[in-house]
């Protein structure tokens, strides 16, 4: 068995240590500026990577993010695992019962907040294919990806904003959270279909990809969820707890990930669905979920977000036209869709607009979606940079816009 040499070992360990510290320092700085932590982590990568530091001092940059052949492969493996765990945690945060309980307003907001940006993204991605730079030649998969990336929302960013503005328990707050969860669920299912289309085009048709995706999701969320729920009390009784939950849940996540990768879907989809199934168990407390979440979001997520800045040169690949196009498409599609849905659900103009801006925040999920699309060669680096900028801008915009639209009336808005 080949192993990393002494120097390669040091390279990997050094990279992990430096990336974690850089991510924390930048993250905390941006948090103080009232921006999501993920923005800081991402900018840490951009500042320390080839876009800035690496341009002037490439040697220092390669110490932080090793380019050493074997060490780089090892680091890449760790980062891939990070994405799987991130999606697992995102799945655990999805509350299926909240989606099931949604009322008329939340339902119409969820549906229109998904369909309108999806349709707009698909149409412009398909007919305006050339406007987005060099991307995959599979026009349908590309257009579907643009639609999906426009439909997704960032739950943690939204939740924080709502709490800051004292809107968390209002009708508007509940609708935003429920619709974001619904959009994420459908968004990741769609993305899995797209990746399956790309990966599987040589092996199986679109119909099979759809069948595998929906079949896996349905079986895991019904039969799988049932068995997971029933086995939790047994595990709690026989394993050390909550340590046992940490290894059991992540173990199941990796098994799910391996399975979906094996059947031609992306590994992240397997982990995401397992996350939903585990998170829905009545025996899994928020404290237990929090243990897994802290471990993943503070160790693995920063590694992933910093690594993005090292993989792509944000300065060279910044294209104003593509960035503006993506930004406008994202904002117009999401806000108009959610606004229409909320209006149809009986909300006022201001409330509907606020819901639109709340759901417009894309955050970390959008960035994960974009990096996976880049890895799958579905999109080029120019479009990737544009999507990352869009994710940051929409996340930063959500708070002030919600504040502007609702703050004076925050206390008078009907509570749930």
């Amino acid at each position: 068995m080949s192993v990393l040499s002494h120097s390669e070992n040091i390279s990997v360990i050094l990279s992990i240590g430096l990336m974690l510290i850089a991510a924390r320092l930048f993250g905390e700085f941006f948090r103080k500026l009232k921006m999501p932590l993920v923005v800081g982590e991402l900018i840490a990568g951009v500042v320390l990577g080839p876009s800035l530091l690496g341009y002037f001092y490439p040697n220092i940059s390669t110490i932080i993010f090793t380019q050493n052949d074997h060490a780089a492969i090892a680091l890449s493996g760790i980062i891939n695992i990070s994405i799987i765990m991130l999606l697992f945690v995102a799945g655990m945060e999805l509350n299926l019962s909240l989606i099931r309980q949604q009322g008329k307003a939340a339902f119409s907001t969820s549906v229109f907040g998904l369909i309108i940006p999806l349709a707009m993204g698909f149409a412009i991605g398909y007919f305006g294919y050339n406007l987005f730079g060099e991307n995959s030649t599979d026009k349908i998969a590309f257009a579907l990806f643009i639609g999906t990336s426009m439909a997704i929302s960032a739950l943690p960013v939204i939740a924080r904003t709502l709490l800051d503005l004292n809107l968390f328990r209002t009708k508007v707050g509940s609708i935003i959270i429920t619709a974001a969860m619904f959009n994420d669920l459908i968004g990741w299912i769609l993305f899995s279909v797209i990746i399956g289309m790309l990966k599987g085009s040589a092996h199986h048709s679109l119909l099979f990809t759809l069948f595998y995706t929906i079949g896996y999701a349905l079986i895991m969320l019904t039969v799988g969820r049932f068995f997971i729920d029933k086995s939790m009390p047994w595990a709690e009784k026989n394993f050390s707890w909550p340590g046992g939950f940490l290894s059991l849940s992540l173990g199941l996540a990796f098994l799910g990930a391996a399975f979906t990768e094996y059947i031609g879907l992306h590994a992240i989809f397997g982990a995401f669905i397992i996350g939903i199934a585990i998170g829905d168990s009545v025996h899994v407390t928020e404290k237990m979920k929090d243990n897994v979440s802290q471990f993943v979001t503070n160790i693995f997520a920063p590694l992933f977000f910093v690594s993005i800045g090292f993989k792509v040169n944000f300065v060279n690949h910044f294209d104003l036209q593509i960035t503006l196009l993506v930004l406008i498409l994202a904002i117009v599609g999401k806000i108009s869709g959610a606004y229409l849905g909320a209006k149809l659900g009986g909300l006022s103009n201001k409330e509907s607009l606020a819901i639109g801006f709340g759901l417009n925040a894309r955050g970390a999920m959008e960035i994960i979606l974009a990096i996976l699309a880049l890895q799958a060669k579905l999109i080029g680096e120019d479009l990737f940079v544009a999507i990352v900028i869009m994710a940051v801008v929409t996340s930063v915009l959500a708070g002030p816009m919600l504040n502007w639209l609702l703050k004076p009336k925050a206390n008078s808005i009907e509570t749930n």
Binding site: N95, L96, Q101, R160, K289, S293
Partner: protein, 287 residues
């Protein structure tokens, strides 16, 4: 409490001529006496002389004959017919026997009493162990979640507890922290997240205190408790652990269907495995 307040003016009892039929009539008698209500015995199925005589015999045995009692026989779909009877006779409380747990197929497709509980537009009492010598409800567990229906539910629960001279009444605030967890992991310091959580809980506690202040509790000793976990499941588990004899919940906000059993939430957790007798309170304006 004064019986004249008529907590449940008209009570319908779904009769199935099962081995528990006699116990159901006995329970009906106790309810009638306690709430001074009118009783409607409803049976859906072909009318047979034997069953008719048996029901009349039970009514006679429990001294229920008179203007305050009526019997309705219908043929057709039991659920639809009983719901129709409830609507036509302006029933306030529907009473039916129910197994604690149903087989998996029956659970998903719904036994009669569970189907009734999901569709009834009036309050419904599901008796898991009706007794020939009923003793009423001594230990009550009541939903105290922050919801517009809770005030009415608590008021009804207090009326029932006073009428039955119950020993204890526990009001449970189920705390679903899943939404708060969204921000705890990434964006907040632990203390910040705890402060937010505390502020939200305080707001809920104040609302509950206000409800209890406005409710005539008499001599009743009411315990309030907050438990973290999935709404519906948490209160169900508490009732079982405390060996309560009546769990009182708000009616669901919208009609439940098969999907709600596949992806259970709230009341479906209680219905999937009844911890004790279950009373679902419908507010008058929820129709």
């Amino acid at each position: 409490m004064s019986n004249k307040e008529l907590t449940f003016q008209k009570i319908a009892i779904a009769i199935a001529f099962s081995p528990r039929c006699e116990a159901m009539v006995a329970e009906a008698k106790l309810l009638q006496q306690t709430f001074n209500s009118q009783l409607v015995f409803a049976h859906v199925g072909k009318k047979s002389l034997q069953e008719e005589q048996y029901l009349k015999h039970l009514i006679h045995r429990f001294n229920l004959e008179g203007n305050a009692t009526s019997i309705i026989w219908e043929e057709g779909d039991p659920v639809e017919k009983i719901l129709q009877i409830c609507q036509e006779h302006k029933i306030d409380l529907l009473v039916a026997g129910a197994l604690e747990k149903e087989g998996i197929i029956k659970h998903f497709f719904g036994g009669i009493s569970r189907q009734l509980s999901r569709k009834a537009k009036c309050s419904m009492l599901m008796l898991t162990e009706p007794k020939i010598h009923p003793t009423g409800f001594k230990h009550l567990v009541v939903e105290g979640t922050d919801h517009p229906k809770t005030e009415y539910t608590i008021a009804k629960a207090v009326e029932i507890a006073r009428a039955f001279r119950s020993i204890s009444i526990d009001i449970i605030q189920e705390s679903d922290e899943s939404k708060l967890a969204l921000i705890r992991s990434e964006e907040f310091k632990e203390k910040e997240a705890d402060d937010h959580k505390e502020a939200l809980h305080k707001e809920e506690d104040e609302k509950l205190e206000e409800i209890l202040r406005c409710t005539d509790c008499g001599e009743l000793i009411i315990n309030t408790e907050r438990i973290e976990g999935k709404p519906g499941y948490v209160i169900s588990k508490f009732s079982r652990d405390k060996e309560a004899d009546l769990l009182i919940l708000n009616s669901p906000d919208k009609p439940m269907n098969l999907l709600d059993r596949v992806f259970p939430h709230d009341i479906e957790y209680a219905l999937s495995d009844l911890p004790c007798n279950l009373l679902i309170i419908h507010t008058k304006d929820s129709d």
